[in-house]
Every structure is written in C-alpha cells, then in structure tokens.
Amino acid sequence: MALTGKILAYLATDYAFIFLALLFRASWLTVFVLPMAVLIFASFKLPKLQPLPIDVARQIRPKRSMGDEDVEVTLTVTNISPNPIEALQLEDKLPYGVKLKSGTNRLMLSLGPGEAAEFKYTLSSPKRGRHELGPTLFVFKDNLRLRSISGQLSNVDELLVLPKIENLGTVDLRGRRVGPWPGLVPSRRMGIGTEFFELAPYIPGDDLRRVNWKASARSRQLVTNEFEGEQVVDVLVVLDCSEGVLSDIFDYDLLEFQVGFAASLCSQLIMQGNRVGLSIYGAVRTWLDLAFGKRQLLRILDSLAIVRAGAATLPIKYVVESVVSAILPARSLVLLISPMISDDVPEMIENIAVKGYSTICFTPSIGTAPSDLSDSSRIARRIFAAERKLRINNVKHLTRVIEISPTRAIKPIIRMRNEWKAA
C-alpha cells in the first residue's frame, strides 16, 4: 500500500499551520490542523483498503491489421473475488504514438462479486509495426484518495499492423529460368499458354482445335499451332532499409514508401502464382525462403510489418549475396528495392549479376529541393544526388533501374513491359 501525494500535502499543510502559529504566536491557527488530522484518521480507520483480484481479458479486432484501418479493443474486467469492488481505476496502456479514436482506455468501475464489465475503445489506424497493447494498470484508492494500491496485470497483447497493399495490376516478368509449375511468365518453350510460339506437325491425339488449317493447306500436311508455355518464376525481393533510407534528401517517408511498394510487389507476384522470397536489410535483418501462396504472403507481410530503418552490423553486399546464394536457384530473378545511397549496392548488383542472376532495381526518386533550404544545404543535396545518379549509371548495364515515386502512380510503370523486363 502506498501513500498518495495528497496525504503528504495534507501533512505539509498541517505543519505549515503549526509553524505559522508559532511564528505569529497565534494559537488559533492550530485549529486548522484538526480537519486534516480527522481526514487522515478517517482514511486509515474507516474503510478497509484491500487489493481484490481482478481478471482483464483483451480482445483485439483485427489482431492483424492491413493498415489504414481502425482497431477495436474490447476489455472484459471480471471481479474474481467474493467481495464487491467499490472503485477500481483501470488504465489499459496504449503503445507509443497510437491515438484513441473513440471510447476510453481509462475507466472507474464498480463491480459486484464475480461480476464482469465490458468496455471498448477504438484506436485510430495505427502505423505499420508491431504494437504491444497493455499491460492493464489498476489502482485501488480509499474514499478520500489518500492511500492507494496499484499494480499491473501481465496481459500484454500484440497488434501487428501490416503495410498497406496497393493493387499493381499484372506484373509481366520474363525470367531466364522458369519453374516447372504453370504460371504467367513466358517460358520460351512450348507448353500451355496463350502466346503463339511456332507451328508443329500434327501428331495423332493433338486437339483438332489447334490445327492451323491455312498453314496445313499450304504445306499439304496437318500442322498445329504451338503456344509458348507460361510458368512461374522464382523471385527474391530484396529490401534495402539501411541508414540511407533516413536521408533528408528524400522529402517523403522513404521507409514507408519502400515497405509499401515491397508489400504490393510481393503480393502481386504471389497472386500470379510465382515463388517469392524476401530479404530485408536494415535495423531488423531477416529473410524468407522461397514459397508459394497466401501463407507465404502473410509471412512476408509479417516480416515487412516490423521493418525498421537503421544501420546493420554486416555490409549489405555480404548479407544479400549470402541469402541469394543460399535460397535462390541459379538464373532466377532478384528484385532490389533500394535508394542506392550506399557504395556497396552497385558492387552487390555486379556480384549478383556475375553469378548469373537477373536483377531489376527499383529506386525511389529524389524530389525537388524545398525552397527554404540554405545555399550550402542545396549544394550538398545536389552533390549527394549526383553521386547517387552516378551509382545508378554504373549499374545500368547490369540491371534495369526503374525510378519510383510516391507522387507517381506505380501501376503504369509496372505496365510498361519493355522498360523493366529483365534481360
């Protein structure tokens, strides 16, 4: 049990009155001590203050938010003691930076024995990341609020806010190596597809609908249309969130933009049936093996949800090259999302290309300089931009470099097939 600041204020006031009485030799001033003394005695003697066991269950909906949506939290408080609780002060701790949209996370409750009370509050679309809700803090105070018993329950729940996915439309890839499974990527081999590939002599058993009658008439034998097989590719998306992402040269939240783009790209690639892996380089370093399907998409989004920008202990070229060699079959496709700030990135692209992988590099573009910049800052910004441009030019013979920007719709860029198809 702890004494509140209020009781100390009462005592201080009492002693101040005694001091004043002595100072001014006015004994009547000591009368003011009595009300405080009575209150303190009443607080200690009349109502018994005892902590009563409570149970608080938290329900979060949705537990895994897809971003830009409000999250509803329901708390059910149960008095699990045989005695009534007259006044219980509860506060459900919110994660830093998360704001309430409606309801309240603080409450004063009165509960009968075994009684449960439910209340809700709504969080205003939390930002991407892993947030911890709770613990619930409780305070029992006596009637005069002079003594308190406080504590916290060990009921911490996790809320995962995934990056928002944008519909990028069909991503037309052309990999040098395709997998055996049917997909959407032209395989440069005959197979099941929609694009005409070549004419071939009719073999008994071939579907008669594939017979090219005009060509058959010309060649005086039955020939059929063969189509280019469309299969899946293995893609590794590499997200560079090293400290360069925090650079002032980008006048927008580059980290969120890159993460959002990576999420959208992975989602689209998986929806097209490709096998997708992920490598994240930043303050949080992680990688995911190649896999298909929605579960893989959820794994990728979970990994992207916790991405934080910052310096990593190992250089990017070492990390990414290791991951690429470990999980990606030869001649597969690497999609790199990087601001191209570090000198290691061009070297890494060169090493990956030498090993026979196809690469496409998405790099966020630099906006125009703000007008309120000083001359020295403006010059520094230009130098920085020029260095970055130089790095991009140095890798252009090895990879397709596509500039993306939050102010420019990404869907049309993706649809420009010739611009970013891997060699």
């Binding site: 005694i18 004043l20 001033l29 009368v31 009595l34 009443a42 002060q89 409450l107 004063m108 809700k120």
Partner: protein, 201 residues
C-alpha cells in the same frame, strides 16, 4: 436504452453542477472572510476563479481542477494573513475553518469528477458502442455514495475542529495559558499520532 442514457447524463450533469456549486460557494465564503477594503481588489481573482471552476467542471480536466484549487488557496492565504494582521481572529475562525474545509472538499469533488469524467463526458453514440450502460450506472452510483460519505467525513472534521476551537475559547477565561498549551499539546499529539499511524502502515 435511450432513457437509461438520458438518466445517466442527467445524473452526471447534476453531479457536476453540485461540484461547481461547492467550488463557487467556497470562493464566495473565502471572499466573505477578507475585509471589504481588501476584497474589492480581489474581485478579478474571484471572477477568474469562478471561470476556472466552470472550465474544470465542463472539461472534467485535472489541470483545471488544480488551477481552481490554486486560486482558492491563494485567496485563502490572503484571508488568513489579513486575519493574522488584524489580531482579532477568534470570531472569524468558524468561517475561515469552513472555508478551509470547503477548499479541501472542492479539491476532492473536482478530482473525482475529473477521474470519472473520462468515461462520462463522451457522445451518446460512444456510450452505446463502447460501454455497458448498467456498468456505468453502477459506477455513477458508487461516485454518489463516495461523495456522500466524504461529505459526512468533511462535516465531522469541521464540527470537531469547531468544538475544539470553542473549547479553547471556553478555557481561556479560566486559564488562558492552559488553553493555549492545551491546543498546542493536542496538535502535537495528533501530529505524532499521524506519524505513528503512517509508520505502522
């Protein structure tokens, strides 16, 4: 459901009105103890004090409650100092004591209002979607009970203090020195007892 919410709102408004009335009455009472020559100078603080009280009650905010307490304390300090300087305070003691008890009481009421205000000062739609109305009603019942109970304690504290003060004034014609000493002894023993109780806790 609607009638329950209306009833809840009405009772909450009533409680806040009581809080505001106590705070404003306290301001007025303190002002009554300040000599007329001085208090005309303190009309402005009084007006500010009343304004702050209304803000504290409307916003149910702990900061405004503290500002109200501060304004009342400053006015009370002026009243006390003017009483000390007049060197004839005995007849003013009951009013000063009442003002003092009411300041403490106002603080108590405003703190409770600001604590409970978080859950009661929300829109009707929030009431329906976020809360269980019976739970809120029980919570409000508890608040009323607490305030009534506190009122009894504060009243008792005031009456006891007045009784002691009058006892001192009765004793003073018989044994003036004894009366002063008796008050000092009483106060010192209470202080010691408080310390002992705190230590025991």
């Amino acid at each position: 459901m609607e009638s329950s919410i209306r009833n809840l709102r009405l009772r909450w408004k009533l409680l806040r009105s009581i809080g505001a009335a106590i705070a404003i009455a306290t301001f007025t009472l303190i002002l009554a103890t300040i000599p007329v020559a001085i208090w005309t100078l303190w009309v402005l603080p009084l007006v500010i004090g009343v304004g702050v009280t209304i803000f504290a009650v409307i916003k149910c905010d702990v900061t405004w409650s503290r500002i109200t307490l501060l304004a009342q304390s400053v006015l009370f300090a002026i009243a006390l100092l003017s009483a000390i300087s007049a060197r004839g305070p005995v007849e003013d003691v009951p009013i000063l004591l009442l003002a003092f008890v009411m300041i403490v009481g106002t603080e108590q009421v405003l703190t409770l209002i600001s604590t409970y205000g978080v859950q009661f000062s929300i829109s009707d739609s929030d009431f329906v979607t976020n809360f269980n109305i019976p739970t809120l009603q029980r919570s409000l019942d508890s608040l009323y009970r607490r305030l009534a109970w506190n009122g009894v304690i504060f009243g008792t504290a005031y009456l006891l203090s007045i009784a002691v003060a009058f006892l001192g004034s009765f004793l003073s014609p018989v044994a003036p020195a004894l009366s002063d000493i008796s008050v000092y002894v009483l106060v010192a023993s209470i202080s010691l007892a408080i310390l002992i109780v705190l230590r025991a806790e």
